[in-house]
Symmetry: C2
Subunit: 273 residues, 2 copies
């Protein structure tokens, strides 16, 4: 089994791919779009895409691929905690560190730790967390990198501190995509999107009626602007149940009839920690 | 009038503050939270906060402040195009550039331009777009920075190319917050949030019925996880009309009755380009 992910190795996305199926052959790609291209051309069997972060919200890139790419379904989801670690070359201690490298977003996530533990270290931006670890390995001074734990298994560095991000409840949800979705397990969710040709009161409400009347729970609702017309939206909904459940099947058919565009991203088992 | 914004000067947020009220005294703050603190303590009269980007989606930080801070209302919105520019020290040309500095996100937005026009330049991460411009000014080599146009009015640099981001439809919506919202103009929107004490089918649907039955158009709907309970959501809705319109007022009262938590962020004029 060949499993595509957004590279390089050592990122949280590689950790998600590893968690999903450790025995799979992992293939790094430079973008989410190149993963879905590879899937379409059968170069890989599955792809792993980040879809939502608990602090940052939805990943627009992935949502847009799900909306616009055909022949691709969600067959699973994986949630992993975003835990940042401070790494140095073997043998160094925190008091030796003169500078800390990372992607500015990761540095921004660890402001409190840096202020309390490394108030005098220079803070230096890197293109990515993995690039920061490479800079640590290549530097002749004692510098640190902030990066995911996985990076320390690939590069010759040791972890001095872990879970150093300011916000403890930081986790990212990934979806596994492939040619088809998953059979019913009894604890499933279904992701769909739809839009309407016109923009008038009550359209989304009418669609949601089909769910409410069949006791189908709404897990998530989001609207994304269509790229064509400002102020016109595509609605993305996660609901509980499988599209093969009779009540879900019936509700989805009725929403499809009301919508201008309608797409089922897939039915798949709910992630259980 | 004192107007707070996320600094430093030269960012898109400063451009939004300038567009809102050019004669205001602009005060730079290090974070959105410090702007709302300053507002609470009457150090500033208004604050400008980025709330949504057309490509990146909602700004979680701002949404969370609106949800949790009290005594603060949205009184206006401003939409500005995100236009990235390539800047160098005066007198240099594009063929002189040996390296390009910027925040990795801005560099990522301009991949096609960089590949086509500067294939041999070194790409170097900076902590921010404004920090990149400072590095350009201080460097003794010819290096470029990718930054907002506004930065070129503050630092002694010239623009070699503008609108160099890959995606043309990149714009950010900002809200102006203050002690109270705006009176009715006839072309207004209202932003609210609410959540329910339990998680069962139909609750959001019931709330939306109050809008649909009164012909109130939904402009945007989003759900954000509550930080307390995984899987429990806060719904954020933008609707057309002012909270002083009788039909909006009535609908909001009825939603308030159904919800566990309910908050009106404010009614304000719709942004017109």
């Amino acid at each position: 089994m060949r499993l595509g992910y957004l590279g390089p190795a050592g990122t949280f996305t590689e950790m998600a791919a590893q968690n999903y199926e450790n025995s799979a052959e992992r293939v790094a790609f430079p973008s989410n779009a190149s993963i879905t291209d590879a899937l379409r051309n059968s170069i890989i069997d599955y792809g792993v895409l980040a879809i939502e972060n608990s602090l940052q919200g939805g990943v627009p890139d992935t949502l847009d691929l799900l909306i616009h790419e055909s022949g691709m379904s969600i067959l699973n989801e994986i949630v992993i905690p975003i835990e940042q670690c401070l790494m140095v070359r073997q043998g160094f201690e925190i008091s030796d560190i003169v500078a800390v490298y990372s992607h500015p977003n990761a540095l921004g996530q660890c402001r409190i730790f840096l202020r309390q533990n490394l108030p005098d270290a220079e803070i230096i931006a890197s293109m990515s967390t993995v690039a920061a670890v490479q800079q640590v390995v290549e530097s002749d001074k004692c510098v640190g990198a902030i990066a995911p734990r996985r990076a320390s298994e690939i590069y010759d560095v040791s972890i001095l501190a872990s879970g150093i991000q300011d916000e403890p409840n930081n986790e990212t949800r990934f979806v596994v995509v492939g040619a088809s979705d998953s059979p019913k397990t009894g604890n499933d969710k279904t992701s769909i999107c739809f839009s309407f040709a016109e923009d008038r009161p009550g359209l989304l409400y009418n669609a949601m009626r089909e769910l409410a009347q069949r006791d189908i729970n709404l897990l998530k609702v989001e609207s994304r602007p269509t790229k064509e017309i400002l102020g016109r939206y595509i609605f993305l909904i996660d609901l509980s149940g499988h599209r093969d459940d009779p009540n879900v099947n019936e509700a989805l058919d009725l929403i499809r009839n009301q919508a201008d565009m309608f797409k089922i991203f897939g039915s798949y088992p709910v992630f259980v920690k």
